[in-house]
């Protein structure tokens, strides 16, 4: 190990006519660099029984809740900042929502170490394709590549090192925001309107269901996502709420036809403060009308 990849063999494979995929290139030329090569590679021992593997990664830092929702001009993705190792808070300001390229973003829930590596490889995969081919992948193509990467971690997932991403982007062909979720086997599911993943996802999704309306404005969609994260933090110990004292707020990404934009801490801070102030009055958040207004 520690090879510098200046060797003749590596050089020869660089010069070979072949794939535009960076992951495929690495698999053929330097497989030891791929994530999972050491821990859960083909040679790793499978978990002893159904329950046995489940605990394996329990004391590793885990990322928790990510929400995404589309709106009139694109799509929003937001993630809380907590990672937990067992019942400990591992980090208060971890980032789990990332720019994957100009028109897409990806969030992760599960074992942070594996998730972060997955994101790094995915970002590079998209950039590499773009540089080699001179054009970007379609949104569908990006979502499929990510599915293959998630499937690549299946061995690890079966041993308890579970990580799943949430992928969202602006589809330049249709002019709409789209959201894709994944299961550990690499199943890829396009979600309608909104979705959430992670330990607090149940609460976040319930919250979004009540707050989301189709074609809402960007600021409203951000507010809805922030409320959803607040509700997740309210009921899930592994999800962190907005930390006003330390000024640590959720990461909020907006992808529109203008591209990816991550809100600054100050911008998110304003939303967070408004939401906390509102919750001082109504701890459960905005109250939905019980009956549809009839005229």
């Amino acid at each position: 190990m520690g090879a510098d990849y200046l060797g003749g063999q590596f050089t020869a494979s660089c010069l070979k006519v072949g794939t535009s995929s960076f992951a495929d290139f690495l698999a053929a030329s330097a497989p030891e660099l791929l994530p999972g090569a050491g821990a859960a590679g083909p040679g790793a021992k499978p978990a002893a029984g159904p329950g046995a593997g489940g605990q394996r990664g329990a004391d590793l830092p885990h990322g928790t809740t990510i929400v995404a929702a589309d709106f009139g001009g694109g799509v929003i993705m937001a993630g809380d900042r907590r990672s937990t190792a067992g019942n400990m808070i591992a980090q208060r300001d971890i980032e789990k929502v990332f720019r994957s390229d100009d028109f897409s973003c990806v969030g992760i829930a599960g074992v942070a170490g594996i998730g972060l590596e997955l994101v790094r490889l995915f970002q590079l995969e998209l950039e590499h394709y773009e540089k080699i081919e001179g054009r970007t992948l379609s949104l569908e193509g990006k979502a499929n590549r990510l599915a293959a990467f998630v499937r690549g971690n299946l061995g690890g997932a079966l041993q308890g090192l579970v990580v799943v991403p949430l992928f969202a982007g602006f589809d330049e062909e249709t002019g709409k925001g789209r959201i894709f979720s994944y299961d550990v086997a690499g199943g890829r599911y396009e979600e309608r309107n909104y979705h959430s993943i992670g330990s607090g996802s149940v609460f976040a999704r319930g919250s979004l269901k009540k707050l989301y309306t189709e074609g809402m404005a960007e600021a409203d969609a951000i507010t809805a996502c922030m409320h959803a994260l607040y509700d997740a933090a309210d009921d899930d110990s592994a999800t962190g709420g907005p930390d006003l004292t330390r000024r640590i707020y959720p990461v909020v990404a907006v992808v529109t036809e203008d591209g990816f934009r991550r809100l600054t801490d100050d911008e998110v801070g304003e939303y967070a403060q408004a939401i906390v102030a509102e919750r001082m009055q109504s701890p459960g958040g905005p109250i939905a009308p019980l009956r549809q207004a009839t005229t």
Binding site: F25, S29, F98, L124, E127, K131, I132, F260
Partner: protein, 263 residues
Amino acid sequence: MPFYVSPEQAMKDKADYARKGIARGRNSVVVTYDEGILFVAPNPSSALHKVSEIYDRIAFAAVGRYNEYENLRVAGVRFADTRGYQYAREDVTARGLANWYAQVLGSIFTESNKPYEVELVVAEVGDAQDEDQMYRITFDGSVADEHGFVAMGGQAEQVAVVLKERYATGMSIDAALGAAIAALSSQGNGEGGINATQLEVAVLARGRAHRTFRRIRGARLEELLTQARSGGGKAKAAKGTEGTGGAADDTAAEPSPGDPTAP
């Protein structure tokens, strides 16, 4: 092989062969300017590029046989991306890449019957103009560390003479483009023959974060060409005001993928 050929003769034949191949194509130039590095290549095709992005701050320009330099370009992207993935993005440098290309071209030249008929420039934009790096790598694997400007191709020397006359440190992008076009058209490319559709122009924009490579084409290129022709690098004082707008101008360039809106 039935007859004895001395190594000297064999090398000379290969070098002549490569030089002839390169001389058949057109020349290209790379010029540094106040806000980046400018690449100019006469190229009627808008799809088959002679100038390309390799990494965040590194670009590649080539002349010669398309299939050969395209192969080298792809290899360079793979090399750089692997490096950056293995270590960190800052650890990918033009110097490392140029050395690697030199090794590759050198061993192809000595070991195979047919040398590559290509000449490359690997350039990296620095934080300041005197930190810009440019390496010219020839078919036999020799590397030259260049400063300010580089010319490539069969008539590189003559092109470089014109460039040297026109080049000044800290010139603006339109002055640099003016110099590049003057140099290229001095060698039978013909001033009249050079218009926006026949030029491939790209920059590594110093002020940008993350990926700095941008292609300049269409209306933006026309506009720059007009400025370059009217100013032509004469009115340096007038360029001062132009220069401050440079950063904004670059954002108006082709919004190529990889916009540095990353966190």
